[in-house]
Amino acid sequence: MKGTKKRNELLEALEGETARWVAEGIIEPAQRERILLRYSSLMEAQERGGPGQLVTTISIMGSVLVGVGIVLFVASNWSLIPKGLKLAIVLFAMLASYGAGYYLRYERGNYPKVGASLILLGALIFGAGMFLVAQIYHISAHYPNGPLLWGLVILPLAYLLRLQALMALAIVDLLIWLALEAHWHLPPHGLFSYLALTPLFLTAGVVLWGLGLMHREYPPLRGIGGPYVAIGCLVTLATGFILTFDPLRLAPRFGVVYSFCLGATVLFIPSVVARLLLKERQRWSGAECLGLFLIVVVVLMSYRRGYYPPLRENSKLIFNLLFALEIVGVVALGYVRRYAVYVNLGLLFFGLFLLARYFDLFWDLLPRSFFFIVGGLLLLLGGIFLERHRRRILSKLALQEARE
């Protein structure tokens, strides 16, 4: 309330000041309108992202700490607490957390963010409960089933309540399952076997991205698409960045990786079809789907030995070009669609990409002292440039949004 009052006072002062500028001929009336619009939308955005976001962040951190505390309490008093009591503590904590969260967010409605965090805490305690049961009965068989079950069981609750933090937890659980399950099936091949997971995770990132876009375009699912898009975009760009170092030349070839990728692609295709069936599609959505699909095809073809030799021989160049195109595409889409997350992630990976290639090119060419000085200066100046550019794009997006 205090923030809104302050904003109104500032805007009133600005209105008076700009009216005088117009009277004195310093600016045109149209310019005055644009200035007022700019400040109004920026202040509104600041207000929205200020204390509310802080409450959410603090509440989520609090939930995680309480969850960890409960688990550690049980672990530290393992032999003192009877088996039944251990389970009762966890079940009670889970139900109490869910109940309190629902009451605060939906029944009373006066603490929606704290309520959402308590529901997230309930989901965390549910996961801890599963691992506690595994401990009590000394279950070690096929441990990837743990995160799989956790993710799948909290998914209905995430869809029902449209809670982004809960959806993000479910997606992270399922990604952990994917890593553990795939690694379980890989033959023992030393540390390099982990590199074989890169094409798999790139496919998973693209699938999440595709699913997220489908969610965003269907009005009933719009509120829950954010975590899919953000995590999908992050995983795709992160694996794309790793591929620019050409790790696949060292990775052993495992047929099982294709089986997992095929399974993931089965999820991607319906999401594309669902988007194409929509009458009102977002701009460039066809090109985006095609681009994502091509990335997966090129990476999987490069992973397969001897499938298309020119792709293998020039894989480093191809992966670098592909990644550069990914970044350009993501930032352009972010601008066209007004997705701040695209712009932020695109520019972050652009900076990392430049830094990595600087190391590649100049590590052997320059004297070490000169290398670090120039590198440091580039980082500082590049950071300032990118941050200014990022802010400019985001403020343009906010302005466009305010105009509409």
């Binding site: 889970m94 939906y106 599963m130 009590i136 000394h138 279950i139 068989a141 079950l149 069981v153």
Partner: protein, 245 residues
């Protein structure tokens, strides 16, 4: 909304209670056996310690258990158990098919090491007899089959064709021989690492290392409850007469 929320939370509660009920029923109704074990590399994990356990039946040699079956990583296996004088169980048989009777435990092959060697007596088309060595159990070859082999000068075989795969790779680095197998002897054999799902025992924080370094660690025994299909679940860990928690 409230009803749906209650249903979604009930689903989670049902999953947890279902796992507990299923495991408790398994413990209560399973057939109890005792296995001798040794602790390996206990690690501190987030939720406390666990002792990583290995059993005598974790490492098996099929040939010593009287089976000629070949095993691959991921195969489900059934290990027959016989009671020893000290009350613990030892492996008596090994098979990929479930035994019709007797006590057995179900496991999965997690690694195989093949130390098989095969000696071939080859009659070349010219009538010359040669003794050749293959560093495997000669899969696909049998007495009387015709084959093309790529060999080194010392008589070891680099690769060969079989009736199922009659076209082989090019023999660029060796000498190509064609003939009929007169005799074939397989020596050595496979060694298997089998997991039974009873390899972790969770203990209170800080106790894992104490168990591992204990003087009586060699006298460690695990009590396992076996389901009808041979799957096991740990019910107790004993050091001598004392039960560890």
């Amino acid at each position: 909304m409230r009803v749906k929320f209650v249903l979604a939370v009930s689903l989670q509660l049902l999953v947890l209670l279902g796992i507990i009920a299923y495991r408790a029923h398994w413990v209560a109704t399973g057939h109890r056996v005792v296995l001798r074990t040794t602790p390996v590399d206990p690690r501190d994990v987030f939720r406390g310690d666990y002792v990583d356990l290995r059993y005598e039946i974790s490492f098996l040699k099929p040939a010593q258990l009287g089976t000629k079956e070949r095993f691959a990583r991921g195969d489900r296996v059934y290990v027959g158990l016989e009671l020893a004088e000290d009350g613990t169980c030892r492996a008596s048989s090994l098979s990929k098919t479930r035994p019709a009777e007797g006590r057995f435990i179900q496991g999965r092959v997690v690694d195989t090491v093949d130390s098989s060697r095969c000696e071939i007596l080859l009659r070349e088309d010219s009538g010359l007899l040669r003794t050749l060595l293959v560093s495997s159990a000669c899969p696909g070859l049998k007495k009387g089959s015709r084959t093309t082999l790529c060999t080194r000068e010392d008589g070891t075989v680099l690769h060969y064709t079989t009736p199922e795969r009659p076209v082989g790779r090019e023999c660029a680095r060796g000498k190509q021989l064609v003939g009929i197998i007169e005799d074939l002897k397989v020596q050595g054999g496979q060694s298997l690492h089998v997991d039974y799902g009873i390899e972790s025992y969770f203990v209170e924080e800080g106790k894992g290392r104490a168990i591992e370094s204990s003087r009586n660690a060699r006298d460690l025994r695990v009590e396992v409850s076996l389901r009808e299909d041979g799957k096991g679940i740990i019910t107790a860990l004993r050091m001598g007469e004392r039960e560890l928690k």
